[in-house]
């Protein structure tokens, strides 16, 4: 094939799209372990308190009403 150079551009483009598609899904994971109340990146500190909230008896399950 004469057009050897073209797949390289295509591959780079597809790589960029792959990053675009995965980025928002990936950044959610470390944020789940943030100790901060607000969403920020990089996450401030490490804690599992958001997971503890989810467990039975955690804050999330003790909402009024």
């Amino acid at each position: 094939m004469r057009s050897r150079a073209r797949p390289r551009y295509l591959d780079a483009f597809v790589a960029a799209i792959v990053v675009f598609l995965l980025a928002p899904i990936v950044v959610v994971l470390p944020s789940a372990f943030s100790s901060d109340v607000a969403l920020s990146f990089p996450p401030q500190g490490f804690s599992t308190r958001w997971f503890e909230n989810l467990s039975p008896g955690g804050n999330f399950c003790r909402l009024p009403g």
Partner: protein, 280 residues
């Protein structure tokens, strides 16, 4: 005997489709009917007042304009970004193809809520992009990346790109490589072969993908609220406010009817131009 039985079979097979379309038509007809009533429930006088009220409210007209603009921009970007990826999935022979295919499908397996939160983490004032730019010394204080039309565009393209890629890829995979090879043998350069043969033949996939993306964009509700934060008002948000917050069913029905009509007009224009392009 046989014809009677096959007719019965056809009637049985059609029954679910008829049932579903009857329910859908009933819903649309009810909405259409309510939009012509002065106040529902209550004053059931037939009137055009709701339509006049819609057209005289700059807020709603702006929402209609933004909804359509969002639909067109998101669809166009999805075509431009999706076509090369679909091409890669179908024509490029590498070992990464299956991985890319899985990654294209991956967003569909994750809730829109999670993906939108992801964009808030990336684009927010204390987000990834701002943190990166500040640490590199490009900017001193945070850029306002949220709350704009283009933030919503980014979020929606991310949500809807897989639909576009998959519908273009399904049509591209049906195009015989021999046809393109024949064009090359007859002296066409790769670019010419693409423009004259592959692109027109794949237009059906582009059309199908565009209709899915456009229809889903103009009906979108969550992404403009979360990423636009009140700066991007689309008709879906207005309809929600009219129906469930200010409880004006007639006004909400009017907005819904006008949104549907606008969507149908845009799709008709789009399909007609696609048809003209492929015929030539």
């Amino acid at each position: 005997m046989r014809t009677v039985r096959s007719k019965l079979l056809i009637a049985l097979l059609l029954a679910p489709a008829v049932l579903i379309s009857m329910v859908m038509i009933a819903a649309i007809a009810t909405t259409l009917g309510i939009s012509f009533l002065r106040q529902f429930p209550g004053d059931l006088q037939v009137t055009l007042a709701n339509y006049i009220a819609f057209l005289s409210q700059p807020f709603l007209l702006k929402a209609a304009y933004q909804t359509m603009a969002l639909g067109l921009v998101v669809t166009a970007i999805c075509v431009v970004l999706g076509y090369p990826v679909a091409w890669f999935l179908v024509k490029r022979d590498t070992r990464f193809r299956n991985a890319v295919f899985l990654i294209v499908l991956a967003p569909l397996l994750v809730s829109i809520v999670v993906r939108t939160v992801g964009w808030i983490i990336i684009l927010g004032n204390e987000g990834l992009v701002n943190a990166l730019l500040i640490s590199l010394g490009v900017i001193d204080s945070s850029l306002q990346l949220m709350r704009s039309f283009w933030t919503v565009v980014v979020g929606l393209v991310h949500v809807l790109l897989p639909f576009m890629i998959l519908s273009i890829a399904s049509v591209l995979s049906k195009i015989d490589d021999d046809v393109i090879e024949a064009a090359m043998l007859l002296g066409a350069r790769p670019a010419t072969a693409f423009l004259k043969i592959t692109l027109p033949m794949s237009m059906q996939g582009v059309a199908a993908g565009s209709i899915i993306v456009f229809a889903l964009t103009i009906g979108t509700y969550l992404t403009p609220i979360w990423l636009g934060r009140g700066n991007v008002n689309v008709l879906a948000i207005s309809i929600h406010e009219q129906a469930l917050i200010s409880v004006e069913w007639s006004a909400a029905a009017t907005s819904a009817v006008l949104l549907t009509i606008m969507a149908l007009v845009f799709m008709a224009i789009f399909l007609a131009s696609i048809r003209r392009m492929t015929r030539r």
